[in-house]
Amino acid sequence: MHKKQTRDIFLFILGGVVLYFISGMVDELRVYQGASIAVYVIAISSIILLTGYSGQVSLGHGALMAVGAYAAAVARIELNLPIILCFVVAVLAAAIGGALLGAAAARLSGPYLAGTTLALAIGLPSLANQFSVLGGEQGLLFDVGFPPLSLGEEFTQYKWFFWIAGLGALISIWIVKNILGSRYGRTWRAIRGNEVAAQLSGINIARSKILAFTISAGIAGLAGALLSMTIGTVSPSAFPLALSFSLLTGAVISGITTLPGAMIGAVVLVAIPEVADVVAHRIGSSEAVTTNLPGFLVSALLILTVLFVPNGPVEQHRARKAKHLALKK
């Protein structure tokens, strides 16, 4: 066990170094997209923890991301906290929100929970218009400042975003991976598998579910703060219902129980608008088609994945290999 952990730490550091070199080689747009991928990886891993492991569905993670983003921006503007603390505030605020939501969620199951979180995703961002401290429809500025001078003159703003987001992604994946491998991860899987049996073995169902929601929300809050960092502002329109849906799509494409798959889902989510753009130009279509093609592709991909690779490509591959081996014997 100890040896495996050393290997994992080594792998994560290696991942960081590779990302560092890649960020030096590609142009600004790609660096920006890299930052988006990192944000999506964080958000998708929060969904994998919640839905894949504890078996609770949330269509409201966009709203929890908004909570994190607003908390970070307010901490930055009103309290003038250093940037690292702003992200901590984001995680804590979203986790508190998640704990409240989780307390409600523990009483609900399946479709009831999905609908409640759906209502939250639609309702919460509009609440920002009610409080002047949150800046209404225009939102708030969220400025993490320029990259430190010690990184050199050449070091661009987007590269700085990418570094922060990439580091955030590595840390979050590291934490989520360890939680899922711990007692809590096993507890959640037991609950997902059979709630009654889990209860009989002495697991406190409600407490475990609320814990899952709290942790997942905290991670989503970090993703929200990082997302608004790359955009530069926090406003209700940055967290539409479509964001919550995309995250769920990303998680399903990744394979709802495969944490390393989060990378696949994140890349697909960032790549789809690009692909749609190319396709739209190739067929020379009207504006209505061009703007809606990404949404169309995401939805189509979601349906096809659920129908034909329901447990994700990685899991599917593993199952096929296992079957193959069994046949050989």
Partner: protein
């Protein structure tokens, strides 16, 4: 006078939510799927209705056209998507969430397609009667002939539906398949077709809700409009408040929701438009997690 206005507006919009909730309940009872695409299907049927209005010129011809279109589309969705889903994704960790995710995908697909086809033009449906309020003793109410008409039509449709459910063989088959599919199959009911029928009825009910929601609003139709986001959330919330399993629950859930939203907007703040349904839903679920009319066991099904 304010009070009367608020009450009448609440009942009218509530009756539309009731219809939407009924369509959710019909689908839930027939296939145990909460159809998040229901509002999307209603949207599509309303576009069918719009095409019919522009080509044929009459709202009263367009309404049945939208209903038939909606019913056919819903039946197709059940036959293709839902049957495949049951076949492929009924095991593994995805099983619990697969129907939710698939219907959400369908919602996205419908919205994107509708925007592609009709997005470039100004889509407008004019109601069959005026939406200017009645005047009593010199004061003008918000309640209009159109709202009265909506209310009457919805009540008639609900009566027809309850007669179908309680008095006919089809209704009996629908109830039997929902209650005990195995036993229904053994007694010679073609459960698969009954399920498709349940979806078709839901599609028709959703079509009426979509048409009325459009003319009751400002008449314009767009996949991104507030009216449809509201239909999406309200239909679901009304069904859940009522208990997902009960048609009467759906009607009452819709009316409760319509009235509550209307009173909150009037007497507290109009900025609470989207957060009010959420608070109402949470309040009801905290008191009764299975909804007002839901059976205790239905929550786990």
């Amino acid at each position: 006078m304010d009070f009367l206005n608020t009450l009448l507006i609440g009942i009218t919009s509530g009756s539309i939510y009731s219809l939407m909730a009924i369509s959710m309940v019909l689908v839930w009872r027939s296939t145990r799927v909460v159809n998040f695409a229901q509002a999307g299907m209603a949207l599509l049927s309303t576009y069918f209705g719009f095409e019919a209005v522009t080509k044929l010129g009459s709202f009263w011809i367009a309404l049945p056209v939208a209903m038939i279109g909606g019913a056919l589309f819903a039946a197709l969705v059940e036959m293709i998507l839902i049957r495949l889903l049951v076949k492929h994704s009924s095991s593994g960790p995805i099983a619990g969430v697969a129907p939710i995710i698939a219907t959400l995908g369908l919602l996205g697909l419908i919205r994107a397609s509708a925007s592609m086809i009709w997005g470039g033009q100004d889509v407008r449906i004019i109601g069959p009667v005026s939406n200017d309020g009645f005047t009593i003793n010199g004061t003008t109410l918000v309640f209009s002939p159109l709202k009265l008409l909506i209310l009457i039509t919805v009540i008639i449709l609900m009566l027809i539906l309850s007669i179908v459910f309680q008095k006919t063989n089809i209704g009996l088959a629908l109830r039997a398949s929902a209650y005990a599919p195995e036993i229904a199959r053994l007694s010679g009911i073609k459960v698969d077709w009954v399920r498709t029928l349940g979806w078709a009825l839901a599609g028709a009910a959703g079509a009426v809700a979509g048409m009325f929601q459009t003319v009751n609003g400002n008449g314009t139709l767009s996949p991104d409009s507030i009216e449809f986001s509201l239909l999406l959330v309200s239909g679901f919330i009304a069904a859940v408040i009522g208990g997902l399993d009960s048609l009467i629950g759906a009607v009452i859930g819709g009316l409760v929701l319509g009235l509550m939203i209307s009173f909150v907007l009037m007497y507290i703040s109009s900025g609470l438009f989207f957060i009010a349904p959420f608070v109402i839903l949470l309040t009801v679920l905290f008191i009764r997690p299975q909804g007002i009319f839901g059976a205790k066991a239905a929550r786990r099904a």
